[in-house]
């Protein structure tokens, strides 16, 4: 993937192994400043591992075995733990699915928001507190000075997610990674958080990587989309193109399984045969071929990445036969 001037994050040929199994295989993607890239896929597709690897947060057994990860032009693979600690919370930050579990239960939330400022900017406590309260107000926490003195258990799930977002943003990172940021929240609270993330992109200009399995959230928030299956990107492109002209059989089937708000009710929905194979038990060649209605002998070889439109690519031998799926 050619790197454009305003590309903030560029991942090329990333491979992540667990016990010799390539769980993530040859992932390349780029995110520009002021844009939101959604990585979408089902459990076990490698989307979270890909995101965690950027900040060197892979779980113990997993390691990056190939590829490069550049943040603002700087190579992150191979950095020492101390060097990575300088990047985390400063240049790049991450928010997780379970806001309550991700906060320290014994620390006042205000202290957790200001922590990054103390670590990276060497501010005094008073100055850091002032900034923390300002950013808490900005992410929509009412009465932030009082809230700052409270503990996570005193706040609702939506409020805790705002605290996470506030602490992630306080050093104005150029990259924000959001790993299923609204999955644990109720839908009216999800709508608030999605709206907040949209404003962050527009006002702060962060590059945002959004990890999700929810096609509605993708449609709502993303500018660009990477669809992952079996540790590989099967399709990538601008959000409108992905939804209007899905060009990989998996994307096409996945979108077809979701009940539409204007579709016929109580009718049989489209299904995808079989199940997601466990990591490492993928077939040779195209990893979707055992569930794909278009599969033939060609699919036993790893499929080429085919350009199907402007910045729109699909990894499939049969992009010209999609109509056959109807």
């Amino acid at each position: 993937m050619s790197e454009r001037a305003n590309t903030m994050l560029a991942i090329e040929g990333l491979a992540i192994e667990i016990d010799g199994n390539r769980i993530v295989d040859g992932v390349s993607l780029g995110v520009e400043t002021g844009r939101i890239l959604a990585i979408v896929g089902e459990s076990g597709c490698g989307k979270s591992l890909t995101a965690l690897s950027v900040l060197g947060l892979l779980p113990g057994a997993a390691r990056v075995s190939a590829g490069s990860i550049r943040l603002g032009g700087r190579e992150l693979t191979g950095l020492s733990e101390a060097e990575l600690a300088q990047v985390r919370g400063n240049d790049a930050a991450i928010i997780f699915q379970e806001p309550v579990a991700s906060l320290n239960p014994l620390m006042r939330v205000g202290e957790q928001v200001e922590e990054a400022l103390l670590l990276h900017r060497g501010l005094s406590h008073a100055a850091a507190r002032e900034e923390a309260i300002a950013i808490m107000a900005r992410v929509g926490i009412p009465d932030p000075a009082r809230r700052a003195r409270q503990y996570p258990f005193e706040l609702s799930g939506g409020m805790c997610q705002r605290i996470m977002i506030a602490s992630a943003l306080i050093c104005r990172p150029s990259l924000l990674i959001a790993d299923e940021p609204t999955t644990a929240l109720d839908v009216t609270i999800q709508a608030q958080i999605l709206d907040l993330m949209r404003r962050l992109r527009d006002e702060v200009g962060s590059a945002i990587v959004l990890i999700t399995h929810d096609m509605g959230v993708v449609a709502d928030l993303a500018d660009d989309v990477c669809v992952m299956y079996g540790g590989r990107i099967v399709e990538s492109g601008p959000v409108d193109a992905i939804f209007a002209a899905p060009s990989h059989p998996y994307t096409r089937l996945l979108l077809g399984t979701i009940p539409k708000l204007d579709g016929a009710r109580k009718t049989a929905l489209r299904t995808i045969e079989g199940m997601v194979p466990p990591a490492g038990a993928w077939p040779e060649g195209c990893r979707f071929r055992t569930r794909c209605p278009l599969a033939d002998e060609a699919c036993e070889q790893v499929p080429p990445v085919v350009a199907v439109g402007a910045s729109h690519r699909a990894a499939c031998w049969h992009v010209d036969r999609l109509e056959a799926m109807a």
Binding site: S156, V187, G216, D240, V276
Partner: protein
């Protein structure tokens, strides 16, 4: 209209809280005056956000929670306060399927034994049980070869099919489905939803369907009831609820579901509610939704309005709906 299979009248489930460190005591009114009918062969969806009382309502129906007041009738019979043997006998007619199939199956029991358990409790013979297991596996679309496997050998979607097979073992008439597809992968959900639709069509089952996923609700349910803080905000036929919602909460809830269509989603009017749900320990005095309602007027903070028929086929508990009829 035929006799409802399930009839719930003014159901209340209150939980008194013991006074203690950090808890000032009080009563959580988890369900506070819910009424509905479920007709044979139909699906009623209970929708709403956490703490709205949808699961508690369903648990009261299956006897997992005790009603504080109100009545629950099944097939005309008052089952509100049934206990012991009588309550257990009701398992022949009412069964429940939970969200997470992994924790709903005993990891050390074979699939066949799990499905057999209700039959064994009901005193069916061994030969009978064996035949029934084969029949049930086939019914839910699982290969017979899985009978002697353990749950760990199955995928999430297969496990949920096993849980459904077990719930069907005694040929119940009512299934309570508590978020039955929420824990499943997206590509598996439609398989299980199709199975539920097929079972309803073939066996004439009634479903009480709990879900926070409104696109699933619209697809599978005939009627929907929107709950907020233990009370009914709006109820009616699914089409009317989705196309012409009357209650401001229903409108906000629907507008909050992101549509899987970026162009439509961009041009859609979104109602973003401010604030969180109020604490169930101290709900607002007037309308439960008053603290977040974009359409509130002064009277809403003082008075709670009962359900009233609007002109779109739903009933809503809102000052703006149907008042002219009452005057």
């Amino acid at each position: 209209m035929s006799e409802p299979l399930l009839q719930v009248r003014d159901l209340k489930v209150h939980f008194p809280l013991r006074r203690g460190i950090g808890t000032p005591g009080g009563v959580v009114k988890a369900v506070d005056g819910v009424s509905f009918n479920l007709q044979p062969g139909r699906t009623l969806a209970l929708v709403g956000e956490s703490g709205c009382g949808k699961s508690t309502t369903a648990y009261a129906v299956v006897g997992l929670e005790r009603a504080t007041s109100g009545t629950i009738r099944f097939d005309g019979r008052d089952i509100t306060a049934l206990e012991g043997r009588e309550r257990a006998a009701l398992a022949q007619d009412i069964q429940i399927v939970f969200q997470d199939p992994s924790s709903a199956l005993d990891p050390k029991m074979t699939i066949a034994d799990s499905i057999c358990e209700p039959l064994a409790i009901a005193g069916r013979s061994r030969a009978d049980r064996k035949a029934r297991v084969a029949e049930l596996l086939d019914r839910v679309g699982l290969p017979a070869a899985l009978a002697e496997r353990l749950p760990s050998a199955l995928s999430g979607g297969q496990r949920q099919r096993v849980v459904i097979a077990r719930a069907l073992a005694l040929s119940p008439r009512l299934l309570v489905l508590d978020e039955p597809v929420s824990a499943l992968d997206v590509s598996i959900r439609s398989q299980v939803l199709n199975l539920l639709l097929e079972l309803q069509r073939d066996l004439g089952l009634s479903y009480l369907f709990i879900s926070h996923d409104l696109s699933v609700v619209r697809h599978i349910a005939d009627e929907a009831m929107v709950l907020y803080l233990g009370t009914v905000a709006e109820q009616g036929p699914v089409d009317a609820i989705f196309e012409r919602p009357q209650h401001p909460y229903t409108k906000a809830l629907l507008s909050a579901i992101p549509l899987p269509d970026p162009r439509a989603q961009r041009h859609r009017e979104k109602i973003i509610l401010s604030g969180d749900l109020p604490s169930p320990l101290s709900p607002p005095v007037g309308c439960p939704f008053v603290t977040r309602c974009p359409e509130r007027i002064a009277v809403c903070a003082e008075e709670r309005f009962p359900l009233a028929a609007g002109d779109t086929g739903t009933e809503a508990a809102c000052v703006h709906v149907g008042r002219q009829l009452i005057g």
